[in-house]
Amino acid sequence: METNTMELKYASLDARIVLTEQEEKELTEQVQKFLDMAAPMKKINLANIKPTYYGFTRQNNLRKDEVKPSLPLETSLANAPDADDSCFHVPKIVED
């Protein structure tokens, strides 16, 4: 399987990442090399095997559904790059 540049561009767009031309070139080569290495695994017939999504053999341990204190507003906002005393600030949704 060969990966084309457009596929990588869309993938980086989905990840909200802009790759430089050099990074795009390097990644294309890396992906190709990886897919070649993964080819033997891809060929194994696993049609009758169920996928495992968690290496976890027990049920989730859920705590009681009780209201507990949450982080104070001031603490929640403390790490924000741009905020006032009650809200996160973001740039405009639509460009001028």
């Binding site: 869309y10 909200r16 990074e23 992906v31 695994m41 169920k50 341990n61 973001v90 740039p91």
Partner: protein, 481 residues
């Protein structure tokens, strides 16, 4: 006081005998960490003032704290484990100023048991890999040879005696690989044994906090303290925590171990590792451990499957690093541009490529052949390992196919997406099994023997490590600090 030569018990006894010893202890920890930092860059955060404040805190409460299990024990946490009193950067520009609003569960437990937080250790950005080449705060040098990587700062800090124990994350074996590179003991417990609350992970279904130590007995004591159910982490096991320290001394049945027959097929396996591992098999047999070569036909695909799963999980988990609520924010005219600027400038080139790879594998063209196939391979490998460990007590391999790579050539796979260092370690993460690396003496850089055991059967790993500690005349690797 020589911190590297003092045991956890000795530290506790000295404090209980005379509280003025705490001043000496604080001074010793600060000096040692400072030397290690200067020579190896093992820490991202290290503040003598913070250590002194903790010493004062213990002094004021010591009359109520005499029986605390880790009283006065200096520890380090990898910088992706949340600490409310120190920054938690994940070794990334993105979180270079991030101050968590709460402590990780493990941080709280260690503090509540009287341990002293010496610093936050350096690592690959967001814990992805063990090549030592992707930290925003530059690489960590190996104490045994500073031209080589130590994988992460957690292993280097323990080997050099800057701290008695350190915790770090392990998604494909990073913790165990670094311990192998530095010649220390490390355990990745069964998935769920240690709460992951407050761990800034990248691969949730694989990643677990593990422990690094210089001694099996001390490792057992720390495991007893850290293991257990956490109501704030749904993935923790609600299972009884054994009294490992007491169980260690009990007689053990004859150990029966398996070795995958194709263990020497690992890519980039160094010749001297091949020879040393064979020598170790012979030594273990001399100690009475019965070893069989067995067929595990899909073990060789573990690292590939785990790389694919971890990339997809990282693409998903790191989606909330968007520059709104915390961390770095790039300059932008509108919201969409802000997301891309923030992430493109805040993440390293290596991480950007890894996340794009995860995004690619999630797309329709790749999902079925690669992601789903990897999840099915995960099932198959888990079944194979469970079946093997029904019959055998342990599965034995080298920890890594090579010793610590050179820093100017971080890994034999430089420029590849899959790290071949994970060839032997990733299977334990896929299946959620406990695994331990034990250091072995070689003529050059250290390397590790890797043991896997049944789920929740960490005691088997500890007993084996103790046997090796007693019977194989292991000497700590030489280093100059």
């Amino acid at each position: 006081m020589e911190l590297p030569n003092s045991s956890i018990q000795q530290i506790k006894t000295k404090i209980n005998e005379n509280t003025s010893f705490l001043d000496e202890l604080g001074e010793s920890v600060s000096q040692r960490c400072s030397k290690v930092q200067k020579k190896l860059n093992a820490f991202i955060s290290f503040d003598p003032q913070f250590i002194a404040e903790q010493i004062e805190g213990i002094k004021n409460t010591v009359h109520n704290s005499k029986n605390l299990s880790l009283l006065g024990v200096p520890f380090a946490l990898a910088d992706n484990i949340s600490t409310s009193e120190q920054k938690t950067t994940c070794a990334s520009k993105f979180l270079a100023t991030y101050q968590p609003p709460f402590d990780a569960r493990v941080t709280s437990i260690l503090k509540a048991n009287g341990a002293i937080a010496a610093g936050k250790t350096n690592m690959n950005e967001f814990g992805v890999g063990c090549s030592g080449d992707s930290s925003y705060f530059k690489a960590v040098k190996n104490p045994c040879d500073t031209k080589h990587t130590s994988g992460n700062g957690a292993a280097a800090a323990v080997l050099t005696g800057a701290v008695k124990l350190s915790l770090a994350s392990d998604a494909l074996g990073e913790l165990r690989q670094a311990a192998s590179y530095c010649g220390v003991i490390a355990i990745k417990p069964t998935y769920g044994r240690i709460s992951r609350r407050g761990l800034l992970d990248y691969a949730s279904s694989l990643e677990q906090i593990g422990i690094i130590s210089n001694s099996t007995g001390e490792l057992a004591a720390v495991m007893e303290t850290l293991f257990g159910y956490d109501p704030e982490d749904v993935s923790t096991l609600d299972a009884k925590v054994p009294a490992y320290s007491l169980m260690l001394d009990k007689n053990t049945n004859k150990i029966h171990a398996a070795v995958p027959e194709d263990w020497s097929d690992a890519p980039y396996l160094q010749d001297h590792i091949k020879i040393l591992f064979q020598e170790q098999i012979n030594k273990l047999e001399d100690l009475g451990i019965k070893i069989d070569l067995i067929s595990l036909p899909h073990f060789r695909y573990a690292s590939t499957a785990a790389t694919i799963i971890s990339a997809v999980e990282a693409f998903s988990n790191l989606a909330n690093y968007d520059g709104i609520r915390f961390g770095y924010r790039g300059e932008a005219k509108h919201l969409q541009e802000m997301y891309t600027q923030t992430r493109s400038e805040g993440f390293s080139s290596k991480l950007k490529k890894f996340l794009t790879f995860g995004s690619l594998i999630s797309t329709a063209n790749y999902y079925h052949d690669y992601f789903l196939q990897s999840q099915k391979m995960r099932s198959l490998i888990t079944i194979e390992l469970d079946t093997c460990l029904q019959k055998y007590d342990l599965l034995l391999t080298p920890t890594t196919p090579f010793t610590a790579p050179k820093l100017d050539h971080p890994s034999p796979m430089n420029g590849e997406l899959a790290d071949p260092a994970g060839f032997y370690t990733a299977a334990a993460n896929l299946a959620g099994l406990p695994a331990l690396t034990f250091p072995v003496n070689g003529s050059g850089l250290p390397f590790g023997l890797h043991f896997m055991a049944k789920r929740e059967n960490e005691i088997e790993l500890l007993k084996t490590a103790l046997l090796l500690e007693k019977e194989i005349s292991f000497q700590k690797p030489e280093f100059d600090i």
